[in-house]
């Protein structure tokens, strides 16, 4: 079955940039139907993939070829999946920019925000951020490259489960039907359902904002609180995400989908999530510095809290969970105090955004 499909579409290979855990999982899923070429930055990883069909120990489909030349990848592939951690996203995008053409379809799977600061400012000190200074990953691609047909992947997609072939689903979001259809065509399988959404900003924001709530969920677990508290947090979290998403140019309805509610529920129950772990350890009494020292990758939610907090202060809107997390992370408020504050906060209406 897999063979016939592969032969029927004798088009260009599909490109995957980045072979971290998610990139590897996506490359393997793509390889079920199409020829796949992956890009890795280090020569030894490229050699490892081509010789042993593993990337940093994770196994890859033997048909996958690797290259460390952005030019070769862009010349060979018309559809590219950017599976790069958000900290490296801008750098990798700039590396690829000279080789990207308007005919390329680019789908990214990165959850994060980039900021454009005025000269002399830094993210830890910045007080005011306008929307125009905040970029989602698709906005980074549009700004830095000639590619315009851009999409994103988001949803509850824990790499470990995907690699085991457990059933899951994702959203491909793009303004272009063409991109959604390509994404569905390439990724859909018996075990993997692919939904489409035209609100790319809303979907990207859902994936980003849920990290804030995930830290809070970890903190509740660390305090030893139960399921009632978690239910309360998730439902208030959704409301906050919807308001923030609207303020940043997404639609509230995307928060209700797979990339919002779907991913949030998964992350708030997952011990593997870095954001959840960060919250958990905070509640156990460690400081942010101590935690960050022992984490090999930054929990994305920390940056998101900073950016969103500066944005809401500039835009003059309220987001109680984010504001309180900001005070816990950066202003020495204790978790218990912030919880008390939230319990007293006058939320009077249950749902006010639909």
């Amino acid at each position: 079955m897999a063979m016939t499909l592969k032969n029927s579409s004798k088009t260009n290979p599909v490109g995957v940039i980045g072979v971290g855990s998610f990139g590897t999982a996506v490359a393997n899923m793509l390889a079920e139907k199409s020829e796949v070429m992956v890009y890795a930055r280090k020569q030894e990883v490229v050699d490892e993939i081509n010789a042993q069909h593993t990337a940093s120990g994770r196994s890859l489909d033997p048909s996958i070829r690797a290259t460390f030349s952005p030019e070769e990848l862009c010349e060979s592939c018309a559809v590219l999946f950017f599976m790069v951690p958000s900290a490296a996203f801008l750098e990798v995008t700039r590396l690829f920019a000279p080789h990207l053409h308007p005919y390329h379809l680019v789908i990214h799977g990165t959850k994060g925000l980039a900021v454009q600061l005025d000269p002399g400012e830094a993210l830890d000190t910045v007080k005011k951020l306008r929307r125009s200074q905040i970029l989602t990953m698709s906005e980074v691609i549009l700004q830095e490259t000639l590619a315009v047909r851009v999409g994103c992947l988001a949803g509850p997609n824990i790499s470990k489960e995907l690699s085991l072939g457990q059933p899951a689903a994702t959203v491909v979001a793009s303004k272009y039907n063409e991109v959604i259809q390509q994404g569905q065509h390439l990724l859909r399988s018996e075990r993997f359902q692919v939904y489409g959404n035209s609100d790319i900003i809303g979907v990207e924001l859902s994936g980003v904002l849920k990290n804030i709530i995930a830290i809070a969920a970890g903190a509740l677990a660390g305090l030893g609180l139960g399921e009632n508290a978690k239910g309360l947090l998730i439902s208030r979290g959704i409301v906050e995400m919807a308001h923030l998403s609207k303020a940043l140019g997404g639609s509230a309805s995307s928060v209700m989908g797979l990339a919002g509610v779907g991913d949030l529920v998964t992350t708030c129950n997952s011990q593997d999530s870095r954001n959840f772990t960060l919250g958990y350890r905070l509640a156990k009494g460690e400081t942010l510095e101590q935690i960050l020292q022992t984490m090999d990758e930054v929990a994305e939610g920390v940056n998101t809290v900073r950016i969103v907090d500066a944005f809401i202060k500039t835009a003059g809107i309220r987001a109680p969970i984010t504001e309180n997390l900001h005070r816990v992370l950066f202003e020495d408020l204790s978790i218990e105090e912030s919880l008390q504050f939230l319990m007293k906060y006058p939320f009077s209406v249950d749902v006010d955004f639909v």
């Binding site: 088009t11 260009n12 018309a78 000279p98 053409h101 308007p102 005919y103 000639l146 315009v148 047909r149 303004k175 272009y176 039907n177 063409e178």
Partner: protein
């Protein structure tokens, strides 16, 4: 301060009128109309999914709306046989309705035949009636007549009427990328997209294009303008096709779009007012009507499909802003805007431009008193909003070569994807608005109006615009010193933006502030019966018509200068 504007007349790019695309089009007018009618028919059938029932319903809707329009909103220009035509369509439809025995394909064919009648009629209605001899005559009359008036007014003495000391080009200053537009006109097809504040704009642009030595452009002019005989003559002479804003049915709109697309593909340089209508508020267009703009993108894609997208098949978008001290229609426009009724549903006849006499009176005033107009020609872009260089090659932000064709390529071929092209049209619309703001040329009158209105607003913080315009005039006084400081603050900000290339400023803004203010006060809305801004006996500022002040103030909206108050 010396103005850096174009003072000489350019040689024509194509001296022989037989080479003008418009003339070629006029020669093949019949075939062209036929082609437009057929393509529109195909397009509509495609949109309605080849379904006879849907087509029938659409035909009935069109018939109903057209009958209503004829009854409720008839115009002088409407053809006499209009009633008969739609009667015939009605009887055709009734006949078809009675024939129940027909098969699905037969019914589709029958309804399509009715559709064909309608698109053929619309295509004929829309089509321009360009005559090269009329064009040349008009151009000569405009240039000669205007420069006589101008010199009579400005140069003193008995022979002044025949003096050539001042030409129209001193009055209407052309700045910006004039050489580029001339170069590109021989390398591809130009689509000019100007801002739109006055009915005078189309004639003005027509004249400017001829000064630049460009062959005539075709453009869509509101059919209402053809009600006025003087305008009708000018419009026809300038190659206008007719846009009837009363007809909002699918069949008309699709025929209009097809006409525009085919004309661009034919190689005719075109002119769209992308705002769709004159700016009611005086604000530079920020939301564009994308329908006609989309036809430029479609035409570009179609040219690429035929393999002639490079060279003459490339389409260049050139934004233009027209800057006035004074807009004749301002009182009507702003009243429309404030009452929110005039959303172009029914065109009001009591416009300042409603009779030839009023227009003549305006022109006389315009040329005998000193109120300058400047026209800024922006940098040319491809249909995706990338700037193009002198050779017509698209360049990205970093100066790298861009192949515009690749935007339309999927899996190696140019493909038709209307959803994609809709998105591209929106992107292009945004780029045009951005360019408008960059090339917009600030005049002293815009500055004084903006500052005065913002100061009045700041004094009455709890009021919105609608409350403000109801304020009694005695209550509105702005202290001169405060006003002057305000002007300086905004001017500093304007110059800061100008160094970043985000706005342009007229040379008279480099004079001392008191001179700028005097110049501004003298010019702002100078021919209105009620002046938007004057100085009282104490030397402070007051207004005779706050809504007019608001109109002229709006010209500087969209740059965030409001935050200075």
């Amino acid at each position: 301060m010396e103005e850096n504007y174009i003072k000489h007349q350019y040689a024509p790019i194509l001296p022989k009128k037989d080479e003008w695309p418009v003339v070629k089009l006029a020669r093949e007018r019949k075939e062209f109309i036929l082609k437009v009618a057929e393509l529109s028919e195909e397009r509509i059938i495609g949109l309605l999914g080849k379904n006879p029932d849907v087509l029938k319903e659409e035909l009935e809707t069109t018939l109903y709306r057209e009958k209503l329009r004829i009854k409720q909103n008839p115009w002088d220009v409407d053809p006499d046989d209009e009633v008969d035509f739609w009667k015939e369509i009605k009887s055709n439809l009734l006949q078809l309705h009675a024939e129940v025995a027909l098969s699905k394909t037969k019914r589709l064919d029958a309804y399509q035949a009715v559709l064909k009648k309608i698109t053929s009629r619309y295509a004929e209605e829309i089509s321009s009636n360009f005559k090269a001899s009329h064009y040349k005559f008009t151009r000569r009359v405009v240039t000669y007549g205007f420069s006589r008036l101008l010199n009579a007014a400005r140069v003193k003495g008995f022979t002044s009427f025949f003096s050539n000391q001042y030409t129209l080009q001193d009055k209407i200053q052309i700045t910006g990328q004039t050489d580029q537009i001339r170069d590109l006109a021989t390398k591809g097809t130009i689509v000019l997209v100007p801002t739109h504040f006055s009915n005078l704009d189309s004639i003005l642009i027509g004249w400017i294009l001829s000064v630049l030595g460009m062959p005539p452009f075709i453009y869509g002019a509101g059919l209402n303008l053809f009600n006025i005989s003087i305008f009708a003559y000018f419009m026809n002479a300038l190659g206008a096709y007719k846009v009837d804003r009363r007809k909002k049915n699918l069949m008309y709109i699709e025929t209009l779009k097809t006409y525009s697309k085919e004309a661009i593909q034919f190689g005719c340089h075109s002119l769209f007012f992308p705002g769709g209508t004159r700016s009611r508020s005086g604000i530079i267009e920020s939301k564009l009507k994308l329908g006609l703009l989309g036809t430029a993108i479609e035409a570009q894609r179609a040219n690429f499909q035929k393999g002639n997208g490079e060279g003459l098949g490339k389409i260049f978008i050139v934004p233009v802003t027209i800057n006035y001290h004074f807009v004749l229609e301002a009182p009507v426009l702003i009243r429309d805007y404030l009452s929110m009724t005039g959303q172009e549903r029914y065109y009001k006849e009591n416009d300042e431009f409603s009779t030839s006499y009023k227009i003549f009176k305006f022109l006389l005033k315009f040329f005998t008193k000193g109120s300058d107009i400047s026209v800024s020609i922006g940098k040319a872009m491809d249909v995706m909003g990338n700037y193009v260089d002198q050779e017509g090659n698209s360049r990205d932000k970093w100066g790298r070569l861009v192949d515009t064709r690749e935007y339309f390529v999927s899996e190696g071929k140019v493909t038709v994807d209307s959803q994609r092209e809709e998105e591209y049209t929106q992107m292009l619309g945004k780029r045009i608005v951005e360019e408008f703001h960059k090339i917009n040329r600030v005049f002293s009158s815009h500055l004084v109006a903006f500052v005065a209105f913002e100061l009045i607003k700041a004094k009455n913080q709890k009021m919105d615009v609608f409350d403000l315009i109801r304020l009694p005039q005695e209550d509105i006084v702005v202290d001169y010193q405060e006003f002057k400081t305000g002007c300086q603050r905004v001017l500093d900000e304007i110059f800061a933006l100008k160094t970043k290339g985000k706005i342009d400023a007229a040379p008279h803004l480099f004079k001392p502030m008191d001179d700028i203010i005097a110049h501004g006060l003298e010019n702002v809305g100078m021919y209105h019966a009620k002046r938007p801004l004057i100085r009282d006996e104490a030397g402070n500022l007051t207004t005779e018509d706050l809504s007019l002040l608001y109109f002229y103030h709006n010209r500087l909206h969209g740059y965030d200068f409001e935050k200075l108050f």
